[in-house]
Symmetry: C2
Subunit: 347 residues, 2 copies
């Protein structure tokens, strides 16, 4: 397989895969693609720095480095990757909370990451800084098995990945939708210069997967209907157990109207954002680890360690083990209250 | 295909593919692998900055940024990629010629790229700076179809790619062999944090390819014997035509003993490094372009524009067209000398 994927204009990027991805967004209704450029990358992870690079002031400009920020709790790789590359044109600026209340006249010099739905808490979010600060919206989970789709996303710079809609995380394939031609060109140059484009083997495989997803939309084998059913059932079961607890609680999520399913749908997040309510459980990750439940501490998302992220993205077998352990943890709370324990233990 | 390739220790890297790559190096005899760590990446292109990052002073250290250098003519992506990432811990330092003659007491603070065999001129090279400067040796072409193998390479930091031995350039797969554990860890962290490892689809495909290469070594379907035969024939034919020219010349290459073939082998470079000998042809790229021969100007390799790189890595059909055009160019030289033109035109 040679360097060239399609032709001289899009040397490293399959034109046919781009066309099918645009069709998928139109059919699902989760992004406006007609006025956007599409830039492929080795996973949306690679797009983090590609887009920071593309939105930063030019190396030859006299501007100070851009401050890259996000609102906590945020996906920690925005921080680790920005710090690792440690470019002269940008630096990690911390959480938006540091800046939004500071006395300042403009949002110049900031680049804001927004994840919507958010990782870890699965809520739909908007940018916080506003003004002229460019925003990179990570829509990894903006598919109808993880969230309702109120309207097609139409931000200037958006990130998507194949890891979440179909689960092909190991294939390392993501794409950006970018309104401005110059920003798209800089992001594309970044991918060319750093890896000469996403693997063509992978692009070929993604083409097959997107076509199959498309062919089955709203049919019996609709991947989103299947995924929503699995995730909604998991969320419902987890809530039923945790609702009996005074020790841990989950984020609140309401049923919402979804333009893809054309009906009100139950929540189906990929992650539970668990809060430990007891004063002594100030490290919620550790509290759950004692019950053999492995989570990711809120501290890693620059949030309070009273919170921890519990992934619901696992095999059915692993989810059953998780449910057993959560149930044991919740049941154990009532040992001191014999009057109610007999009731809860039979549930 | 999930994030995890093999297990918890090598999450993003197939242990079996690593084992087969080590076997291939041992069988070909082109690299000492037993005391090296193997780090996969999305093509050896990605390893350029991964290794610069891994060899640069720590961001928290007070050291000045490392100067990244190479000897002209050099592969231009070392420069473009180092400049594009524009990290605080390193910067592009230009050609070694700028530094080797300067009065200085140490080689501290340099990182030297060496390509061996070199792209563009196909010669085996050694580092120039010496001393304590870490060296990244790019062995993309150090396989027995492109060069004789005098001995297994054993530098501290080496780069290889699948683009050249088998021609699977579009798959974007490369690997580094690294002696020092800490340098290997930093390079590996770079690949994890920037793309979460090379595509697992690609790793699986590479596994099949390496196994087939291994199974056929020294046999009837030996890829290196085949490749050497093709490339040697092309070089011989090109030389036969160019030797009649006073306008252009090629680099000189001698037959050399090869430990893989266990005999003296004829040269078989991937590139011809063409020199325009006439005073008026100071832009050799333009001179050849007029004859409809597309090359890559010496200026891009930070060499004189009197030189230009002619790729011999192409399909048979394209090579035949190239030979026609080179022959026309050489024959045209003699139009002013009717006495000899009749002889050369019938050749």
């Amino acid at each position: 397989m040679s360097y060239i994927a399609t032709g001289i204009e899009k040397m490293f990027q399959s034109v046919e895969l781009e066309r099918q991805i645009r069709r998928l967004h139109r059919a699902v209704g989760n992004a406006v693609v007609d006025d956007k450029h599409v830039v492929f990358a080795a996973g949306s992870i690679q797009l983090i720095n590609a887009l920071v690079h593309a939105l930063s002031p030019d190396a030859n400009a006299a501007s100070p480095p851009a401050r890259v920020v996000a609102t906590a709790p945020y996906y920690p790789i925005y921080r680790t990757q920005t710090k690792m590359f440690d470019g002269r044109e940008y630096r990690w600026g911390g959480t938006t909370a540091l800046w939004v209340n500071a006395s300042r006249n403009s949002t110049d010099g900031f680049i804001e990451f927004v994840t919507s739905p958010n990782n870890p808490d699965a809520q739909l979010y908007e940018p916080v800084l506003g003004g002229s600060a460019p925003v990179i919206v990570d829509h990894a989970y903006y598919w109808p098995h993880f969230t309702h789709i109120p309207a097609p996303a139409d931000e200037d710079v958006m990130m998507f990945t194949m890891s979440k809609p179909s689960g092909h995380a190991g294939s390392r394939f993501g794409w950006a939708l970018i309104r401005d031609e110059n920003v798209a060109k800089r992001a594309n140059d970044y991918v060319q210069n750093s890896i000469m484009g996403a693997s063509r083997d992978t692009q070929l495989r993604m083409l097959g997967i997107v076509k199959i997803m498309l062919a089955n939309l709203h049919g019996k084998e609709d991947i989103f209907a299947f995924g929503h059913d699995v995730m909604r059932t998991r969320w419902r079961r987890l809530n039923a157990v945790v609702s009996r607890s005074r020790r841990i609680s989950l984020q609140r999520m309401a049923p919402e109207y979804c333009t893809y399913f054309k009906r009100i749908r139950e929540p189906s997040p990929g992650y539970a954002w668990v809060k430990c309510e007891m004063e002594e459980d100030d490290d919620c990750y550790e509290a759950l680890l004692k019950a053999k439940i492995i989570t990711r501490s809120g501290a890693r998302f620059e949030a309070s360690s009273r919170y921890t992220r519990l992934s619901l993205l696992k095999t059915d077998d692993d989810f059953e083990v998780l449910m057993e352990r959560v149930t044991d943890l919740v049941n154990a709370e009532n040992y001191d209250e014999p009057a109610s324990s007999s009731t809860t233990l039979v549930m």
